[in-house]
């Protein structure tokens, strides 16, 4: 069990700086202390997770917030690789997307996304969603990474 004083490591995979900033801003007010790590595309996300290149010292995230529409490697591929990697597959992944397309939804679940969240346009809704993620993933669920440690 992680020390609750320690901030949670969150990896935000998002190419849209607006969304990045928004997510950061919303999480600033979060009840749980967190440490945001941000990458811009799928390739970087995987490099971060595998401590490759400049991410050799990167922390292992407790939660991945993954946008589906990414340059280079898109979110679906990233999700598939994460879930295919025995070291990474236990990290909870929350898919963030503007798409309501059922195809995307189904594909995500097929790849064992842990949660799926449509990015709401309304800020209040977004805040509520982010809060609920907090509640769900950071306080209630016992996170598997602790077992590894």
């Amino acid at each position: 069990m992680k020390n609750t004083d320690q901030p949670i490591e969150i990896l935000l995979v998002e190419d849209n700086p607006g969304d990045v900033r928004l997510t950061v801003e919303v999480l600033k007010d979060a009840r749980v202390r967190n440490n945001m790590n941000m990458v811009n595309d799928g390739a970087e996300a995987l490099a971060f997770l595998r401590h490759e290149g400049k991410y050799s010292a990167a922390p292992r995230p407790d939660l991945i917030l993954l946008d589906l529409n990414l340059p280079k490697k898109d979110g679906r591929e990233v999700l598939a690789e994460i879930k295919a990697d025995p070291d990474l597959k236990r990290i909870p992944v929350v898919v963030l997307t503007v798409s309501k397309d059922e195809v995307d939804i189904l594909k995500s679940y097929d790849l064992y996304a842990n949660c799926y969240i449509t990015k709401p346009i309304n800020l209040e809704q977004f805040i509520t969603v982010v809060r609920s993620i907090e509640d769900f993933w950071l306080t209630i669920v016992k996170l598997p990474p602790n077992v590894d440690k």
Partner: protein, 706 residues
């Protein structure tokens, strides 16, 4: 019955009629001729009999007269006494003169040839006319007989050898009667008659004019018959001509054999005659009145010829009549035939023209596909000459790819009960180019043999048009698809920047509201409002694009459940406005349930929205009309002016300002799209200020389409 047979029958009927006429005329002629013959014969026979009777009567009469002449002397006592006295005393001259006076009167008045008185010795005493007289053997015998018997004798005709002529004598005795006793004759009184003077002309005279008729006087002498008078056709026959009694057909022989009445036979000339035989009473004479058969039957023959002529005329008339009828019949028949032929010809010409100048190819083929006849269009379409076509087979006209289809179609045509069929295929011209055709083939059965008639239409233009249309449809469908894709992509990609705008403006509002001045607050409000509206617009646009793009497969859908779902989605707004929603029974249809939910939701949502202060009252119902369910959603809202009742279903069409009613103008466009995808129609009837009723139809049995 053929024309020839009919004509033959008519002719035969006429022939039979003609034959019957011939027979009838012949029978009539024969009967009439027989009748006439009998009549004429009978008449002639009667005439002959009458003449014979007349002759007999005249002869008898003449004989009686002669006898009475004689008895005038022998029975007159005065005369007898005078003669007696004179014979006793021949010197009494006065007496002699008296006697000579009445003798002269006898001779003169009664045409006796001789008036003679003899004495009992048979010697001549007195003679008138005075002169020489020598008695022949006949006279002597007659006188001797009379003196001996004292009886009057009327002699037969005899030939006087002295005079060499035929004579007849009457002899009476001169006896004086004294009381009861009769004494011996004192002498005899003899009257000699020359038959040529009266008897023969009497016998020969014929009461009617006739070229051959005559009367004969005969008597039998042993085995012969002796002609007593002079005959009409032969001279010197009196007491000279004889014929044997046995001769069968001789009329005179028949008379000699005692036949009486009418007989037919031959006369002394050997000519056929008709005769009446009558014996003269008190004598050996027999009267034969005869006439040549030729003369008797001349009128009969004449009648015969008249009958023949008449019959001939009748027959000719009948023949001409029948001939006229026949020729009329023939003429009529020929005219009829001619007219029929003319009609037939016209019909043939008519069909020939139709065929020749038809705008379609017309081919007649045998069972084996051999082309028998082709029209002008065929020649121009295939590029073959008529001769080439007539030597070609249907298979030569098929494009290589359609040969197989041709075999199949021919089998279909032959095998099935179908008498004709229509199919499309591709034909080949002489130069190898091909063109699409529509073939209408038909079996024509003529006396057991099958022929095919194919009417072939070049459908190149139609095909091109069809292709064009199909390409246009494809184009349209692709452009529609692209439009939908565009709408989706646009709305989807628009969402990203919009989200940025709205999120950050809201963040701005959240952090800085009341911390800046009033203007900043207003500006932020406008920005937030704009972002919200744009978001709604994009959401609706996405929904609209999804109707076609992401429709589910149709399935059995309960409209009750659909309405429940729609109302549950609208629950918040229904509760907020206090709207009253009622419904009639709703059917189950074949459709896309989520789209139908959206349809009801939009319609009811609109009904609630456009109410303006009134308590919304909405009724949903459905009823079957023909092959479709007609759904209606009725409200008590503000209504829609009739001029807009079409336009409201177009996308982005709004009737009201934003301040009045929120909305993007997409809701009803979505409704129309959903209804049309289900094969129905949507329309509205409305009375502004009172309410509107939206109707839409969904087919009762709609084939499932994706």
């Amino acid at each position: 019955m053929s024309f020839k047979e009919a004509r033959l029958k008519d002719s035969l009927n006429l022939l039979i009629i003609f034959l019957i006429l011939i027979i009838a005329v012949n029978i009539m002629g024969y009967v009439y001729y027989q009748n006439q013959k009998d009549h004429i014969t009978k008449e002639k026979q009667n005439e002959l009999l009458a003449i014979a009777d007349l002759k007999v009567a005249q002869i008898v009469n003449w004989r009686n007269e002669r006898l009475s002449d004689l008895s005038f002397i022998s029975d007159n006592p005065l005369v007898v006494s005078q003669l007696h006295q004179w014979l006793l005393d021949p010197k009494k001259n006065r007496l002699k003169e008296e006697i000579l006076a009445w003798m002269r009167s006898l001779h003169r008045n009664f045409s006796y040839d001789r008036v003679i008185i003899v004495n009992s010795a048979g010697s001549l005493r007195l003679l008138i006319p005075e002169g020489q007289e020598v008695f022949g053997p006949n006279d002597k015998r007659l006188i001797a007989e009379t003196i001996k018997s004292g009886k009057t004798i009327f002699s037969d005709l005899y030939r006087s050898k002295l005079e060499k002529a035929t004579r007849l004598s009457l002899v009476a005795p001169i006896i004086v009667r004294a009381g009861q006793n009769r004494g011996l004759p004192d002498g005899a009184f003899l009257l000699r008659i020359n038959p040529y003077v009266f008897l023969y002309p009497l016998v020969q005279s014929w009461p009617t004019p006739s070229p051959t008729a005559e009367t004969q006087l005969v008597r039998r002498e042993g085995d012969e018959v002796l002609f007593l008078n002079e005959l009409r056709h032969q001279k010197n026959t009196a007491l000279a001509l004889r014929c044997p009694v046995k001769e069968k057909n001789r009329v005179a022989a028949m008379a000699g054999r005692g036949v009486v009445g009418i007989v037919e036979g031959v006369d002394y000339r050997g000519v056929r005659v008709l005769a009446a035989i009558k014996p003269v009473p008190g004598s050996t004479w027999i009267v034969i009145s005869k006439v040549d058969a030729e003369e008797v039957y001349a009128p009969v023959r004449e009648r015969f010829w008249i009958v023949v002529l008449l019959g001939g005329v009748l027959l000719v008339a009948a023949g001409v009549g029948v001939g006229l009828v026949w020729s009329d019949q023939q003429a009529r028949a020929y005219r009829k035939q001619y007219e029929a032929e003319l009609e037939k010809l016209a019909l043939i010409r008519h069909f020939e023209y139709i065929t020749r100048y038809a705008n379609d190819i017309i081919l007649m083929t045998g069972r084996d596909g051999r082309i028998i006849e082709a029209n002008e269009k065929a020649i121009s379409s295939y590029g073959y000459t008529r001769d080439e076509l007539r030597h070609a087979n249907m298979t030569d006209l098929q494009s290589p790819d359609s040969l197989e289809n041709y075999e199949i179609q021919i089998k279909r045509l032959e095998g099935s009960a179908e008498k004709g069929l229509v199919f499309e295929t591709v034909h080949r011209r002489r130069d190898g180019t091909t063109f699409p055709v529509e073939v209408s083939a038909r079996v024509i059965r003529i006396e057991g043999a099958d022929f095919f008639q194919s009417i072939i239409r070049d459908i190149s233009e139609r095909k091109q048009a069809e292709d064009k249309l199909s390409r246009a449809m494809e184009e349209l469908s692709r452009s529609n698809e692209e439009l939908e894709k565009f709408a989706y992509v646009a709305s989807h990609d628009l969402q990203e920047p919009l989200r940025m705008v709205s999120s950050f403006v809201q963040l701005l509002e959240k952090r800085y509201k009341g911390k800046l001045d009033q203007d900043a607050d207003d500006f932020i409000n406008f920005a937030v409002d704009g972002a919200n509206r744009m978001q709604t617009l994009i959401t609706d646009l996405l929904a609209y694009s999804r109707v076609g793009r992401l429709g589910k497969k149709f399935g059995e859908t309960s409209c009750e459940a659909v309405l429940d779902h729609a109302l549950s989605n609208l629950q918040a707004v229904v509760e907020e406005t206090g709207a009253v929603v009622t419904r009639g029974p709703l059917p189950a249809v074949t459709g896309d349930d989520s789209q139908l939910v959206q349809l009801f939701q939009n319609l009811i949502g609109n009904a609630i929205k456009f109410c303006k202060g009134r308590l919304p009252s909405i009724h949903i119902s459905a009823e079957q009309s023909g092959n479709a369910w007609v759904f209606s959603v009725r409200d008590n809202g503000i209504g829609i002016p009739p001029e807009y009742s079409e336009r409201i279903f177009s996308i982005f069409q709004r009737l009201h300002g934003r301040q009045e009613y929120q909305g993007t103008g997409i809701g009803l466009a979505i409704c129309r799209k959903v209804v049309e995808r289900h094969g129905g129609k949507i329309w509205v009837k409305s009375e502004p200020g009172t309410g509107s009723t939206f109707y839409f139809t969904i087919p009762v049995q709609k084939e499932i389409k994706s």
